[in-house]
Amino acid sequence: MASEYIVNLKHISKTFGGIKALNDVSLDIKRGEVHALVGENGAGKSTLIKVLAGVHFPDDGAEIYIDGERTVIKNPMDAIRKGISVIYQDISLFPNLTIAENICIGNDTVWKKHLNWAEINALAEQALAKVGAKIDPAMLLKDLNLASQQIVAIARAISFNSSLIIMDEPTSSLSAGEVETLYKIIETLRNENIAVLFISHKFDEIYRVASRVTVLRDGRYISSHDLAAVERQELIRLMVGRNVEYLTMKAERISEQQILKVNRLCKEGNFYNISFELRKGEIVGITGLVGSGRSEIAKAIFGLNIPDSGEIILEGQPIVIKSAADAVKHGISYIPENRQLEGLLAKNSVCQNMTLAVLDEICKYGCIDTKKETAIAREYTEKLDVRPRDIDKPVGQLSGGNQQKVVLGKWLATNPKILIADEPTSGVDIGAKIEIHKTLRQLANKGIGVVVISSELPEILAVSDRILIMHRGNIVSAMNKEGATQEAILAKALGA
């Protein structure tokens, strides 16, 4: 009889250069279940799945059982042959190859010494059809946007007919519609008795798709639960080791002085008649379903999306912004949503990456003032709780969420007049989210105008002084923080 468990991991440890990223961790996944893996940034989630995927070899003493049988996973292809496929946090595909190749590469059934393109394209089309994607598989992957690349990664994972599919933060680059698709795919997988190991920092998502959960903290195994039997607060307490809740922080002083006014901004197909104002010291939150035009407005103000009509008024002066460089010159900073695209310099240190956007400021006579440089890096690693607190570590060795914090720090360090942050907390854990909220509030208190875009309603409620709600490219409602509730916002966002 087949074992009840598809995978059992016991006594998994992994040391990177003397530092234990994993310390005697175990994980049991039942056949056909959706299992969530949670923990703070740097807790070791990605490392654990990389051990299971054959990317990292565990330290001595590890025991891996697949289908009840003890085994060793030698390399990533070995894992795939044993029925485990992975969608990595960094996507890990080939931008210069076609969609079909990205799906089939390494798949023994078609990826043979001599390639038969008809076979390859057929398998790819089949895989794409399974996830409901309509696209020409002969297109190059780099011609797709990030979310669509993620869908290709999902199609690839499914095409191996694995019995366990691991997804490392798969929704961090998907839009709401695409997330729904992913949920449906996961549901179909479950119906066919394929197990899914799902890593996420979003609790709504975890409760929606998963039935069991395993918590890691500081590279150690904490516990496993049926999700039906564990409350969200309890889960957070297990992850962080203490109680954490969003803090609502009041503005110290919102001056009457308008720093930014947007007047009847239109862009066909994106947004219509957008007017709002931002005052010094204020945080304006923009929410709405993904695709409602929120990010497009942000890009328009930052010169990445030129509007058809309307005006942007900065401190009383109408300005023309034709490029990102114009925006920066006017003191506008923008933290984009898809920060994976941001290109951190993986081999360079946290310190060098953090100060990249302020090189002019830390240079004296063309030489970098290392004292200033480290001071800035220290300040923001501290503020954003980058772990480990080592500013000389190459960024490539940080966990995904901590890399996100570095990107964030890089832009926060720029000292803008206006800061626009699109999903500033995507991919970071709950503790870090609160730190980021605090940092945004501190910036506002210094007199900066802040615009925060987020689809997470509790976050919008916690950080904003005023909330703009978008629906199909229009601002359908503006609420003051007082009196706004999740229900009211959601109703407006849905177009009620």
Partner: protein, 330 residues
């Protein structure tokens, strides 16, 4: 069809046509069958080596030792051709083996010792050339036998032998990169080295192969080199690597790796060949020729940079069906 028009190769082809038209307007001698044939014949060696260099550049590598490799292999081919027992097959084998060995030497250092390709090949460029000069004492290899030198100008069924050899090289290389796992792995490695090892590609093996293949093609080119010139200077091929690399880059291969096509490289070779031929016909001073060649390289790369910027804004989104029909497993 639209897609085809947007392709990089098409842009370069247009550039080639415009340059050719320009030259033929100034010197009528340009657009004659015999001149066009001579352009091709004079650039076969460049073209063969550029095929190999395309693969090297696709891996985001570079090989600046190929000029020295060419001289090294050519001298040995010449010395062997002078032996009384030599015949065409022995000469071919010597050229090929000599090139492959030099390429493997590079490959082992790059893949095995993980030294960057630019560092390794700058080193071997000097090592190969230096040892060649030591060995030959700077002396030329001359009075090569007629059975060898006549190869360059004889034809089979009306097609010159060098063109046949080039055609075979193109066919083999095309098959390799289009229809074999190894060839696609070269592109995968260039596109995302981390992902490449995650999908089971032995990246060291691929790199070793690419440099060995570069060497093999240089070996083949060296056979033609001696046959074409009939005398071989131990300094043969000095700084030729720069021409080879230029042709590949003009043809659209990105120095960042992952992209580059044989067709593009052929067009790159022709652009360089046509310009050089045209300038000679127009009696342009040689120093100016260098300036023009350099400018063309920069223009070609700038076109790429601009093109890429535009593309960033036009990325596609996959349409995902609202409802997923049928099951997931096959």
């Amino acid at each position: 069809m639209r897609n085809w028009l947007k392709k990089r190769e098409f842009v370069m082809l247009m550039m080639l046509v415009v340059i050719s038209l320009g030259i033929s307007l100034i010197t009528p001698a340009f657009l004659t069958p015999s001149n066009l044939l001579s352009i091709v014949m004079n650039n076969i060696i460049l073209a063969i080596m550029a095929m190999g260099m395309t693969l090297v550049v696709v891996t985001s590598g570079i090989d600046v030792s190929v000029g020295s490799q060419l001289g090294f292999a050519a001298i040995f081919v010449g010395l062997v051709a002078l032996l009384p027992t030599a015949n065409i097959f022995i000469v071919l084998a010597v050229g090929l083996v000599c090139g492959v060995l030099l390429g493997i030497f590079n490959g082992i250092l790059i893949a095995g010792a993980e030294i960057p390709a630019i560092v390794v090949t700058v080193g071997t460029m000097n090592v190969f050339r230096g040892s060649l000069l030591l060995y030959t004492n700077g002396k030329w290899v001359t009075s090569l036998p007629a059975w060898y030198t006549s190869m360059y100008n004889s034809s089979v069924l009306g097609v010159p032998i060098p063109i046949i050899i080039f055609a075979v090289v193109v066919a083999v290389t095309y098959y390799l990169i289009q229809y074999t796992r190894l060839g696609r792995s070269v592109y995968a490695l260039g596109g995302n080295p981390v992902a490449a090892s995650r999908v089971g590609i032995n990246t060291d093996k691929v790199l070793l192969f690419v440099f060995a293949y570069m060497g093999a093609l240089t070996g083949i080119a060296s056979i033609l080199y001696g046959a074409q010139l009939a005398t071989i200077d131990p300094n043969a091929g000095t700084s030729f690597e720069l021409t080879v690399i230029s042709a590949v880059v003009i043809g659209g291969a990105s120095a960042l790796g992952g992209s580059g096509s044989l067709l593009g490289t052929c067009i790159g070779v022709l652009i360089l060949g046509v310009l050089q031929n045209g300038m000679i016909l127009m009696r342009v001073e040689p120093y100016w020729q260098d300036v023009v060649m350099g400018l063309i390289l920069i223009i070609a790369v700038s076109v790429d940079v601009l093109n890429n910027r535009k593309k960033e804004a036009q990325k596609k989104t996959i349409d995902v069906a609202k409802a997923i029909k049928g099951g997931v497993s096959a």
